[in-house]
Symmetry: C2
Subunit: 170 residues, 2 copies
């Protein structure tokens, strides 16, 4: 058995260098990853989870995570909310697309409401709470995309239809 | 040198089986891929490209393709339009999110206009044309997501702000 050997080459008909197998020509494509999440509210209070895992353990976040294979974006949002906050959400619309091109990540962040005020602390969380806007612990937010999404939600609160925000951009 | 050996296992703290290295525990994550594209118009005529490559060679499509590493979604749309139709687009908004969960694909399809009616036949195209709505070759469209996006565009034509459509869903 021989160890596979890859070189960076531009495959035929393409524009970008890829890792190509020196023996068989197989191209190892690497693509950006999708994160799905939701700014979810119950009577104008915002659902936040205290992260139990790295990165940013001990900081507050919205329910969000990597989309899984064979899952739609909305299914992914509902699953993450169940896993992290044991909560059932109803999705209202796409709040924004947050690009983190440096790490090849596209975050699809939805606007959602809790179906009922029943939630619990999921395996990946240390705590889960509903915060009034003025109680949100802004200095203890895990990621800048969470801060961005919460503030964008505030801009469309009460609107039934709105175009999604875009980062970078709006 | 030893050939790596992987088994399907549920890593600690996770819910789903992954390919895990039997020696070092490294987890091989596989994630859905992002396709970006645009329904692009010039004076109510729709830009379509005749595919020069498989799948669906010889069928008409909108400019679209896989998002690359370190690229934002909007950058990807503009790149695909340049590659396939040698055209400069101005993005107006997100038209829809089209999920193809069976093949783990999320298509982000934008609404765009041509900056000028200058275009040409890109490397991956056999032909590029602007079609009036009634001239669109509906029986020769490459993918059902293209048919879906064209018809959704028609529903919001003339609107400056609109929420994105969602498939499955709206």
């Amino acid at each position: 058995l021989k160890r596979p050997s890859f070189s960076k080459r531009i495959p035929p008909g393409e524009q970008i260098e890829r890792l190509v197998c020196d023996d068989c020509g197989w191209v190892h494509y690497v693509n950006p990853k999708i994160v799905v999440g939701a700014v979810a509210t119950w009577e104008e209070r915002y659902l936040l989870c205290l992260r139990a895992i790295e990165p940013r353990r001990g900081k507050w976040t919205i329910p969000a995570g990597f989309l899984e294979e064979n899952e739609t974006t909305e299914e992914g949002v509902l699953r993450e909310a169940r896993e992290e906050a044991c909560v059932e959400l109803e999705i209202e619309g796409l709040l924004g697309i947050y690009n983190v091109a440096r790490v090849s990540q596209v975050q699809l962040l939805y606007k959602a409401v809790l179906k009922s005020p029943e939630f619990d602390i999921g395996e990946e969380s240390l705590d889960v709470r509903l915060f009034a806007w003025d109680e949100i612990p802004w200095d203890e937010i895990a990621f800048s995309s969470v801060d961005w999404a919460l503030r964008r939600h505030r801009l469309v609160a009460g609107r039934e239809e709105f175009p999604p925000f875009s980062f970078p951009g709006s």
